[in-house]
């Protein structure tokens, strides 16, 4: 429960940062790093698919609602919900692989969300979505998002691990928990 609350707070903070701070930065190509996406993916990778999906849905919906948005309600929520679900479903192999894998997933999620968002736009007949537009937006978005991703992923992982430790601290602190082997 505490993890879900923390996840909700993290996503809320990320969405607010994204809409209030990042979106007003005068970025060179007119796009910015997607903090909400990174937070949702990070939360999903350390929790369950359901938490990821709910976090993505709510975060995306918030971004759909908050003023800078000019697209249909639910468009970003749909894409982020899927991204969160998939990242959460891939939790075990990612945590097992460790290393730089979370960044790979984040990059895939960024590209996928960008393309998915454009794809929904194509389905809905959004005149602003063109091939040139997508090709112009996707690379800078990916680059900027990956540049800031360590500063989002690691703090989120760290905070979520704290709650994880809380859950198992009594177990982890006992000398017999690891079979009495001193490492």
């Amino acid at each position: 429960m505490i993890r879900r609350t923390l996840a909700a707070v993290l996503v809320a903070v990320a969405v607010l940062l994204q809409t209030v701070v990042v979106n007003r930065l005068p970025m060179p190509w007119g796009v910015g790093p997607d903090l909400a996406l990174l937070t949702v993916v990070a939360v999903a990778m350390r929790t369950t698919a359901v938490t990821g999906a709910v976090a993505g849905f709510l975060g995306g919906l918030a971004i759909d609602i908050l003023p800078p948005a000019d697209h249909e309600l639910g468009r970003y929520a749909l894409v982020l919900c899927l991204a969160g679900y998939l990242a959460g479903a891939l939790r075990d192999p990612i945590s097992r692989a460790g290393g730089l894998w979370p960044f790979g997933v984040a990059a895939l999620a960024t590209a996928g969300v960008s393309l998915g968002f454009a794809g929904v736009g194509v389905v809905l007949g959004d005149p602003r979505v063109t091939l040139g537009g997508v090709l112009g937006v996707l690379p800078p978005t990916l680059l900027l998002t990956m540049v800031v991703s360590p500063f989002v992923l690691y703090p989120v992982f760290w905070m979520l691990r704290r709650t994880e430790r809380d859950d198992f601290r009594a177990v982890g602190a006992t000398p017999w928990a690891n079979g009495g082997i001193v490492r």
Partner: protein
């Protein structure tokens, strides 16, 4: 590996369905309460936070903007500075052009009043070698038809005369130079004298010295002086304002009467001048003088018809030279006598008023119809003599007449009011 359960799939399905529902709802054009309310709530949440962030981040965003603009800023600053300098220069040149245009207009006005034919020139330098000579260089020369001994004027009056010319430049001996002396005549009255430059102090406002050939002549402060004119208009054409009497020197017993005269031209700020390449056909007399600034005097002039004189320059001169003779043979005789023999002027003059009074139009002050004929006429006849006989001969011929005719002087004050 792919860890999903039926529960999680259900949740995902519900969420996706919800998203799609919202999407489809919002995609429709008609306003629906769900998306409208949602957006209203979003705006209500967003606005205060955004305003707070705006307030808090203004210094940061300003700094960011300045940094982002930094590469172009230097170029922009240089560009603006260059533009600024250019505009300042243009503005200054506009000022200079306006001043020059004004001076040219003045010059044209004076030349038109006096019927001089002038070549406009620009005073290039104001050389005062060792401070002894007062000369200026003009940017016109022989190429422009300027030769030595030509009168130089500007809009205010006499500047000097050309003493030396080259192909493209000419040197002007200013009227204040110690070596300059100009035949002069007092405004209104016909007192003849010589204006000479000379030693002058730094802040001397009246550096010219007027020496009246008549030792008993009445000169008053504020009287103005015009050139008398030389023979053939060289070196000085007649009628150009020279200056204003500043004070009269008391020289009892001297043969001449002297006064200090302030030049009409500000010689220290010489810019646009004109070289008189052709003298007027007739002596413009006082018509070139600007109206007196004194309001009392101006009222007087209006009363005397003085502005009319200024306007009707041409008829006046025609009247002075030609019609007087056929209408009044006596006038012709008198003038002939005046110019030929000074000694006979005195008896001739008293006889004049009687025949000329009815005509009244002989003299240059043609406003004289309203004045008593007796005082008006002798002055009218007298200046005609120097004009007819030629400039250089004028002073010599007229001076004895003046000296020989002291009784003529008392009526003059009434004439001047």
């Amino acid at each position: 590996m792919f860890r999903d359960t039926s529960r999680s799939r259900l949740v995902l399905g519900v969420l996706l369905a919800l998203s799609l529902t919202l999407l489809v709802l919002d995609e429709r054009d008609d306003a629906n309460p769900v998306s409208g309310t949602a957006r209203a709530v979003g705006a209500a949440v967003f606005e205060p936070i955004s305003a707070a962030v705006t307030l808090a981040s203004r210094p940061i965003s300003d700094g960011y903007r300045a940094l982002a603009a930094a590469p172009g800023a230097q170029r922009r600053i240089a560009e603006l500075e260059a533009r600024n300098a250019e505009l300042t220069r243009e503005l200054e040149s506009v000022d200079a052009d306006a001043a020059r245009s004004r001076e040219l207009a003045d010059l044209l006005h004076l030349a038109g009043l006096g019927r001089y034919e002038v070549v406009a020139a620009h005073a290039v330098t104001r050389m005062t070698a060792q401070g002894f000579s007062d000369t200026a260089t003009l940017d016109v020369g022989r190429r422009d038809g300027v030769t030595a001994d030509m009168t130089v004027v500007n809009g205010d009056g006499l500047v000097g005369r050309v003493v030396r010319t080259t192909e493209r430049t000419s040197t002007v001996l200013l009227v204040t130079d110690g070596a300059s002396s100009v035949g002069a005549r007092l405004e209104g009255s016909k007192e003849i004298g010589v204006i000479s430059g000379g030693t002058h102090g730094i802040a001397d406002t009246a550096p010219l010295r007027l020496e009246l050939l008549d030792g008993t002549a009445t000169v008053r402060k504020g009287e103005r002086v015009v050139t008398l004119g030389s023979h053939g208009g060289a070196p000085y054409v007649p009628g150009v304002p020279i200056g204003t009497v500043r004070h009269v020197e008391d020289t009892p017993g001297a043969l001449t009467r002297t006064a200090r005269v302030a030049p009409a031209v500000d010689l220290s700020r010489l810019d646009v001048v004109g070289v008189v390449v052709a003298p007027p056909e007739t002596d413009p007399r006082d018509s070139v003088l600007p109206p007196k600034p004194d309001p009392r005097a101006q009222a007087e002039q209006r009363h005397n018809g003085r502005p009319d004189r200024g306007r009707k320059t041409a008829p006046k001169h025609d009247g002075a030279e030609d019609p007087a003779d056929p209408r009044h043979p006596d006038g012709a005789v008198a003038r002939g006598k005046a110019s030929t023999s000074a000694g006979q002027v005195a008896p001739a003059r008293p006889a004049e008023p009687a025949p000329r009074a009815p005509g009244g139009g002989g003299g240059p002050p043609s406003g004289g119809q309203s004045r008593p004929p007796a005082p008006a006429d002798p002055p009218a006849a007298e200046p005609a003599a120097p004009a007819d006989t030629g400039g250089v001969a004028g002073p010599a011929g007229a001076e004895p007449g003046d000296l020989a005719n002291p009784p003529r002087r008392p009526p003059r004050p009434p004439e001047r009011g």
